[in-house]
């Protein structure tokens, strides 16, 4: 799994490729922490186009990010999930909690 983050204007994108599972916990947090404290950032997008697998720990990490984004006053979006990942998000009914594009 590789994670990188970049900021363009007021939008920050977290790019992820590979397996999004419990091994990724620290890396994921290290990627989003600085974004939460950057004043110019108002939208955080998680780019899932490269993610081929998502487990329940990943769902948990997204929930954590959701809580922290809300606390920091940032909008959060989940973007471009692949078919398999989209299905996992659908079974979990995460569209009720997240904006998924």
């Amino acid at each position: 799994m590789s994670i990188s983050a970049n900021v363009a204007g007021n939008a920050a994108t977290i790019n992820m490729t590979g397996r999004f599972d419990f091994n990724v916990q620290r890396e994921f947090k290290e990627a989003y922490d600085p974004l939460l404290t950057t004043p110019v950032v108002s939208v955080i997008e998680v780019n899932l186009s490269g993610v081929d697998y998502l487990d329940s720990s990943a769902l948990g990490m997204l929930l954590m990010l959701r809580e922290r984004s809300a606390a920091a006053g940032k909008t959060l979006k989940l973007c471009k999930p692949t078919a398999g990942v989209a299905q996992i998000l659908e079974i979990a009914n995460f569209a009720k909690l997240f904006t998924i594009e």
Binding site: F22, D55, S56, S57, L59, G60, M61, L63, M64, E67, E90, I91, A92, N93, F94, K96, L97
Partner: protein, 406 residues
């Protein structure tokens, strides 16, 4: 620096000196005695290996070029005999420094000593080797300590789990019409199956799957079970029970932890069921074929419509599941995602399609699915807790049923 202070003979340990030239052996042995070692000597590699095996010296001085068996070969064997103990092997060589070092390290040696021998250099190298040996022994001791503590912890967990699962499962209803397989990856299971009779004759069944597995996943199991049982016994209905479990877990579990769940209600007249699916794989209701030639059909499918429990402070009360008609003999199949996501050696997932295919193709779905899963996974172990439940909607499953009534 002058000569070292006198060591009582043998206090530094036992040294093995290996050299085919007697004069060389004698010189080194006397130098080593000055350093406080007792000494034994061998004149070739083969003798050296034998002496090492018999007497287990603390340090070995090895000449590289010898007849019968050379120093490199002997060193390899001696290191193998030493195992996890650090027994320094110092090569004796007349070769130039660079070349000597490379050759001796490659052969498994730890240091080299050039001829002609100098007392101070010998002493310095011995001291360096002793430091490494002391370090190696400390590490070995620490390892032993860690291993002991780990085993103790495992024992405690096994005991705790036995108490725990007795508390959870003891009060489940005893019936031959519910078959279940709950296989935990670690000692504690994050999957939970609860069954309880309602005062009005309904039957409540809850299959839950906590995020992760192991001890942290099992933390929410007991609270969820207590709410389920207490409220079912008091006549509360499924939405109220799910709501209470949700609130309890929301308060108890940190953000990011939740429980996917499947709540099944079998009504007292055995004519209808209600199923809430909050984040689990599709629930399948299989019908009873009219004749033995007919194939089993999937009568109802219930896909996940709710958020898993424990995420939001309140659950969505607007969603009301449909009442699904059943007849005696219909079967309800529940599974956790540990089953559909179980992988084989190639990393392929068992999958929902295969699960359904196998379940429908066999009269004894329960056994067929488990066999298919085990065959599919083969040597590959489960990566997540696996749960699979088959509920046969037979009159005998209900406490207050009377088969003549229906």
């Amino acid at each position: 620096m002058s000569m070292s202070p006198f060591h009582p003979l043998g206090m530094a340990g036992l040294a093995l000196v290996v050299d085919d030239v007697a004069a060389n052996r004698k010189i080194l042995e006397s130098l080593l005695k000055l350093e406080g070692y007792r000494t034994i000597a061998a004149e070739n590699g083969s003798e050296a290996v034998q002496m090492f095996s018999d007497q287990r010296p603390d340090i070995v001085f090895m000449e590289a070029m010898m007849p019968v068996m050379n120093g490199y070969e002997a060193t390899t064997r001696i290191k193998a005999l030493a195992g996890s103990d650090f027994i320094p092997v110092i090569f004796l060589t007349a070769l130039s420094e660079g070349e000597a070092l490379v050759n001796c390290i490659d052969a498994g040696g730890d240091e080299f000593l050039s001829k002609p021998f100098k007392q101070e250099i010998l002493r310095a190298k011995i001291k360096a080797m002793q430091r490494i040996r002391d370090l190696s022994r400390t590490v070995a001791l620490q390892h032993l300590k860690i291993e002991r503590q780990h085993n103790l912890m495992l024992k405690e967990q096994v005991l705790a789990e036995q108490i725990y699962s007795r508390a959870i499962t003891t009060d489940n209803i005893a019936t031959k019409y519910i078959h279940s397989l709950l296989r935990a990856v670690s000692i504690f299971s994050g999957d939970l199956l609860l069954t309880a009779d309602c005062p009005d004759g309904k039957l409540h069944i809850l299959l839950g799957d906590f995020t992760g597995h192991g001890l942290t996943a099992a933390v929410g199991v007991l609270p969820a079970a207590e709410v389920f049982r207490a409220m079912t016994a008091k006549g509360f209905d499924a939405p109220e029970i799910m709501s209470s479990i949700n609130t309890k877990l929301n308060r108890l579990l940190p953000t990011g932890m939740f429980m996917t769940a499947c709540f099944v209600v079998i009504e007292a007249d055995l004519k209808n069921i209600l199923v809430w699916n909050a984040g689990m794989p599709e629930v399948l209701v299989l019908d009873v074929p009219a004749t033995s030639e007919d194939r089993v059909q999937v009568k109802h499918r219930i896909t996940s419509q709710y958020l898993p429990l424990g995420i939001l402070a309140d659950i969505d009360k607007k969603l009301i599941p449909a009442r699904l008609p059943i007849v005696s003999g219909d079967r309800i199949l529940l599974c956790s995602d540990g089953l559909t996501e179980a992988i084989n050696i190639e990393g392929e997932a068992f999958g929902m399609e295969r699960y359904e295919e196998v379940a429908v193709a066999h009269k004894h779905s329960f056994k067929a699915v488990i066999d298919a899963l085990e065959n599919f996974c083969g040597e590959q172990e489960f990566i997540d807790d696996v749960s699979f439940v088959e509920i046969q909607c037979m009159p005998g499953i209900l406490k207050t049923s009377s088969s003549t009534q229906y």
